[in-house]
């Protein structure tokens, strides 16, 4: 037969369990606004029944329960949702980086405008057209030289600004890598702690939350693959190489030795190249190596075509002082194009064609045919395998830039909407609802009150038994 004091123990268990449950509810309420917090649930289980040994059983009922126990503090989180969010974050991270660069390039080019490259190129051709009508006019000759200088200078300044963008991207790449390394180290440290606590059969809810926040941030930066190990640690991989393995974190480093303008990104331990195909890091690299490089190539092609076509005609023409064979532009890339310093006087500008009787000397001062031909280059198909004019090519470049920027904006927006939606669903599972916790609070408080009352009842029973039984005639 169970002892009379057994009831007291059961009541004590109830008090303790209710107190613990209320503590957990308090923790939830306190953390209602903590970012990344997953609510914790008290899991109560009935204690086993006290089993009477056979010999003493008699005819009494057997299994009588002995109370309640808090067996687990359960963290309510959905790893599937978390992974889904991280996948979309990669998209968002990657395309945000690309979008930022595209918008910066749009701003640098500044089209449509009256001071952009298109306007300068048009101005340049027009200045030759004006000169063709009156080739001896000193003011018009000066204007052509000036227009040439301005065009060269515009190419140069665009190149410079693009180069600054590239440098900025390299900075951002460095910063992103530093962040990845820091997060990797932090996850490794948490792994150790979490494994230890799991070893003691407990759930380190808050540490798991912290680790999840780090993994969320990491997901934006690259296409990291996360795998949970038996002991509760997570391993993180990128492009086949580990970033985190148990308590160890690898480091990514940048190598500027090959090409200072383009940092290469390698793992420090074995110098292999980091293969990131998604996420912010990949986006920054794409922006630098494809988008910026592509635009610079286009500008270089434009500059080269202008230099070559103008010089070809200019060399065959004669200036007012008989000069011939002079280039108009020096340089062949957008960064180096410049007005030929040998054209130090307006007389040297070639406007006249060769004389019919003697092709080695000019036809006459009134001949503006070379100037006319140069001005007609505006319609000459000198680009894209002789299929497009300089203006066509530039317009196409701008159009493609705009389309790419529009596409990037849409991709970022749709990824963002999806991330927000998935986060809402995550919150629906793991978030703290104050009303829900209030109900839990009331529930456990009542249980506590009932248990307290129970103590009083048993106390009274024992009191009656101990102090008021078997007293005869007292």
């Amino acid at each position: 037969m169970p002892s009379g004091l057994m009831g007291l123990n059961t009541a004590l268990q109830a008090l303790v369990a209710s107190q613990q449950a209320i503590n957990i509810v308090s923790h939830n309420i306190a953390n209602v606004n903590t970012p990344g917090y997953s609510r914790q649930q008290p899991i109560l289980a009935a204690e086993g029944a006290y089993t009477l040994p056979e010999a003493q059983r008699g005819s009494e009922a057997g299994q009588v329960g002995t109370g309640v126990r808090l067996v687990e503090v359960r963290r309510v989180a959905d790893t599937f949702l978390a992974n889904h969010v991280r996948l979309q974050s990669q998209q968002m991270g990657q395309w945000t980086a690309i979008q930022d660069t595209l918008q910066e390039l749009e701003a640098i080019l500044g089209e449509p405008s009256d001071v952009g490259l298109a306007a300068e190129i048009d101005s340049f051709w027009a200045s030759w057209g004006d000169l063709a009508a009156d080739p001896q006019n000193i003011a018009l000759r000066s204007a052509v030289l000036e227009a040439g200088k301005r065009l060269a200078s515009k190419f140069g300044s665009l190149t410079k600004q693009i180069s600054i963008s590239r440098q900025s991207l390299n900075h951002q790449i460095s910063n992103t890598i530093e962040e990845i390394n820091d997060i990797g180290q932090a996850i490794a440290d948490l792994n150790v702690e979490i494994a230890r606590i799991r070893g003691a059969q407990d759930t380190p809810g808050d540490l798991l939350d912290q680790r999840d926040i780090l993994l969320d941030r990491l997901a934006e930066l690259g296409n990291f693959v996360v795998a949970e190990e038996e002991n509760g640690a997570v391993s993180v991989f990128l492009g086949g190489h580990h970033l985190v393995w148990q308590g160890q974190a690898a480091t990514i480093t940048t190598d500027a030795s090959l090409d200072p303008a383009n940092l290469t990104i390698t793992w420090k331990d074995d110098a292999s190249v980091v293969r990131a195909t998604s996420g912010r890091l990949a986006g920054l690299v794409t922006a630098r190596d494809e988008i910026i490089a592509g635009l610079q190539d286009d500008l270089d092609a434009l500059a080269a075509a202008v230099v070559e076509s103008v010089n070809g005609l200019h060399r065959s023409g004669f200036g007012l002082d008989g000069s011939t064979g002079l280039d108009f532009f020096t340089g062949s890339t957008a960064g180096h194009i410049a007005l030929n310093p040998a054209l130090d006087h307006t007389d040297k500008l070639a406007t006249a064609g060769p004389s019919e009787s003697d092709p080695t000397s000019p036809s006459g001062p009134g001949d503006g045919s070379i100037a006319l031909q140069i001005s007609l280059l505006v319609e000459a198909k000198v680009m894209d395998g002789d299929r497009a004019t300089v203006n066509d090519y530039y317009r196409d470049t701008i159009g493609q830039l705009g389309a790419a920027a529009q596409n990037a904006a849409r991709t970022v927006e749709s990824a963002r909407i999806l991330v927000e939606h998935l986060n809402q669903r995550r919150q629906a599972v793991s978030g703290v609802s104050l009303d829900e916790e209030t109900i839990n609070l009331v529930q456990f408080e009542r249980a506590y009150q009932a248990a307290a009352r129970l103590v009083t009842v048993i106390d009274e029973m024992l009191d009656r038994l101990i102090n008021q039984t078997g007293l005869v005639g007292r």
Binding site: A107, Q136, D435
Partner: protein, 293 residues
Amino acid sequence: MRVTENMVWQSAASYLNRTRERLQRVQEQVASQRRILRPEDDPAGTERALLIRSTIRAYQSYKRSVDQGLARLTITESALQRATQALEDAVVTTMRLRSDTFSDAERESAALQVEGLLDSVLAAANTRYQDRYIFGGYQTNTPPFSMDETPSPSAVYSGDQGVVSLYVEPGRTVEIGLPGDTVFGDALEALIGLAEALRTPGADLGPCLDQLNAAVDTVLQAHTTIGQRLAILQDIDENLARVDILLQQQSSDIENLDLAEASVQLASEELAYNATLGMIARLPQPLLIEKLR
């Protein structure tokens, strides 16, 4: 689905931001009066806008060429008119002196008059426009015609056959220049011959008259050519003006903001923004805990 406090606040923040983004964009458009702020707003539209701007600049260039051409051709025309006038005066004089008998003194005086006419035609042939000789082909720095006195008086042409052309329309050049050798050469020779004949007693003025008439025809022909060119340029000039208006209109249609439409959009976005703010203000609902006991 469970609804937690966080979900409510995050949603609110997200809606608010989206509304603000849209409002911001319309405000930017209205402030700049432009529909296309960046190529990404309308990539195809941006390309068209750039094309139209280039075309406008090209047409402005054509206009300048046409103006230059008109001015020069007008000067050319008046030089030819001057030469025609002089030649016709010479014809009159020749015919008069042919029909009657005149004294040597009268013939001498006629010769002097003809020399005066010769100077006129010479001056016309050596007309300058903006400091350049216009009838010498490409040789614009030296007078095209000069008088050589030995062995006998003749007009020497020192210009060349270069013809200045202007590009005045897509795919169209118009010749502006007119080498003076044929046009004035015949006239000058005819007048020189006439003066000589007048000073030669008994000389037959018949051939001189023929020469003069031939010269008049030559000049008139040149006059017609120049007239045609002027007509072409005037026609192009009108067309350029029309095209410019059309292009400016197209440019405005593509790039400029439709203010009426934008004002409505602005009002609508502002309304949405204020409504969102109002909704957020009402979010803090009473909690269960406040209602217990």
